[in-house]
Symmetry: C2
Subunit: 340 residues, 2 copies
């Protein structure tokens, strides 16, 4: 195979972490677009908004008043998808199978400044967010009913975010969600066979090759994985093997924050807009196992494809078949690197 | 477990066809919505639009002129995601794994009438679409390079459909896409163990219970599966065991068309809008195996949640964890049944 084949012809790439495939159609990137355009809102927001239920000092829907917080502020989600105190039950009625699921859902405000997003914050400011993720992860991990902690952010109205105040969420629960379960299996199989970390070995290969690396500092790599699905999907991963975010040194928390600052700022420059995405941290379960096979990482799934208003739709074929992308990972890296 | 538990408390349900879980949060259905609203376009379209590249007699982007078709019209996609004649190659470079993928992509116009959707067509008119699906499936199945045929429709701008003219697509290829591969495995395991069809046995159970059946005729069931993900997701499945759509009798093709007419009309009534969705037919691979474990079915994945303008966002938690829904399958059935 010539390397140009991957830039010219339809093919599928294997995601070593999930065991699934993505269909890549590089020849199709020039298709004209006559479909839906997203609303672009580049309006500058005020630093404080009286009607925002996440701003400091404001009252939330349940009547609680937010403190006058200075960096981050965490509270339990007023409309949690997981209940903490519901009964335990299971359904095993022929081919109907269900299990009760309990958990704790939290909201993390990244800054009291209503006008900002992570892309507008310095690495030092983002480090406070990293510290908050660590504190919450530690507390939830200590809860015997919590076996997995999903940290994530939905940024932008197009990603279902109902409030533009900079914030993320944590949904923690007693069992492993589907995506985590897949990555758990793939990493465990590899670790048992090779006695080394799947993602760690992949990063070593990519760091030699450099073709898909957007940025690196002492501790972290920002990369578009070979198997990326979304047009400008990216991953931040620690260079050394760590199962979860508590294993970072203090210096590494700042290096991690710098990596977040770099990719989110590049995103905003790409289409000259506050770039929407969902991001999430995948890390080891918080059950009683050692989980040495886990190498934690953070991924960004941004929907935009060609401009601030044209997104990639993951619909018909993608829902019933496999995810599909037009622009290749390698082209996306080139575009983002120019913006650093 | 009391049946009310499933209507009151957070739980997860198992999808017997994919082997994955959906998180259900019935207590959360009353959450207020402050997020993005979708544009609603209930404008009546003309029966013929000069600028539409799918209308009869019009010229497409590549210069070809559409015939003056009377019911359905099929052509090869001018911007196919899969190439038919590209070279065969594979990448096996350490942890980079890729394979060339070839295929054939087609577009099927359901009617020359630009103003219609399947919901506005009679069962007799829809039967012509079913016949076209059968003809295309048969032809593609006979191609030794094609081992799977994905028939689907994206309806509505919110589902990435770039042209409102009633049409669907077929992407056919040499290997099994992810979703089909999962269903292949689950059905095969069950068939090997029980010597009967997984979906067939499930339908028998649901037909006795009736709680999730929206509609049935002699040959077909319209059901919201126990494990449905989208708020008003539904499935049409033949009552008798058939591996693919070619096994229908002529009478059954009309019963199938009636089932499509019933569910799409109910959808349009639900929020008084042309109801967007992606639909797809999952059926046996067209490889050289017998595939007796396959029971074909058609699913509808509609995004709307509460009104014509508020959709369910499958974002952060859903992308990194598991799909999540608020309204239960059982409540959704009640709402749709009232509209028949
Ligand atoms: O082929 P179309 O209608 O131009 O495109 C639409 O359906 C395709 C198949 O689901 C998707 O890959 C595209 O993102 C979507 O916009
Ligand atoms: O929790 P929020 O921000 O109200 O809601 C948003 O994120 C959730 C978690 O990804 C999704 O389930 C919702 O569909 C989305 O609108």
């Amino acid at each position: 195979m010539k390397n140009t084949d991957l830039q010219d012809y339809s093919h599928k790439r294997f995601n070593i972490l999930t065991g699934e495939w993505v269909l890549v159609s590089p020849h199709r990137a020039k298709r004209p677009w006559q479909g839906q355009n997203e609303a672009v809102n580049n309006e500058k927001r005020p630093t404080h908004d009286e009607s925002c239920y996440l701003c400091a000092g404001n009252t939330r829907i349940n009547g609680e008043v937010n403190p006058n917080y200075k960096d981050v502020f965490v509270f339990t989600n007023d409309f949690a998808a997981l209940q903490n105190d519901s009964p335990t039950f299971s359904v095993n009625d022929g081919l109907l199978v269900a299990e009760s699921e309990t958990g704790i859902c939290k909201v993390i405000c990244f800054s009291p400044d209503h006008s900002k997003s992570l892309a507008d914050m310095s690495a030092n400011e983002i480090q406070h967010v990293v510290f908050a993720w660590q504190r919450e992860f530690k507390e939830l991990a200590a809860n015997p009913k919590i076996n997995y902690v999903q940290i994530f952010e939905n940024k932008g109205a197009v990603m279902g975010c109902s409030n533009p105040h900079p914030h993320g969420q944590i949904w923690s629960q007693s069992t492993l969600p589907n995506e985590v379960d897949k990555k758990n299996t793939q990493q465990l199989n590899y670790y048992n066979k090779n006695n080394s970390s799947l993602l760690g070995d992949y990063l070593t290969q990519e760091l030699e090759n450099q073709e898909r690396i957007i940025f690196e500092n002492d501790g972290f790599v920002v990369i578009i994985p070979f198997w990326a699905v979304w047009p400008f999907e990216a991953m931040i991963a620690p260079k050394r093997h760590m199962t979860n975010i508590l294993e970072m040194t203090n210096a590494e928390t700042l290096q991690y924050a710098e990596a977040i600052a770099v990719i989110t700022k590049a995103y905003d420059k790409l289409f000259n807009t506050s770039f929407p995405y969902s991001s999430g941290i995948h890390q080891a379960p918080t059950d009683s196992n050692k989980n040495s096979h886990w190498h934690w990482h953070m991924s960004f799934y941004p929907p935009l494809l060609r401009s601030a208003s044209v997104k990639k739709f993951m619909v018909g074929y993608e829902m019933f078949g496999s995810p599909q992308r037009d622009i290749t990972a390698e082209s996306a890296v080139k575009m983002l690197k120019e913006l650093l």
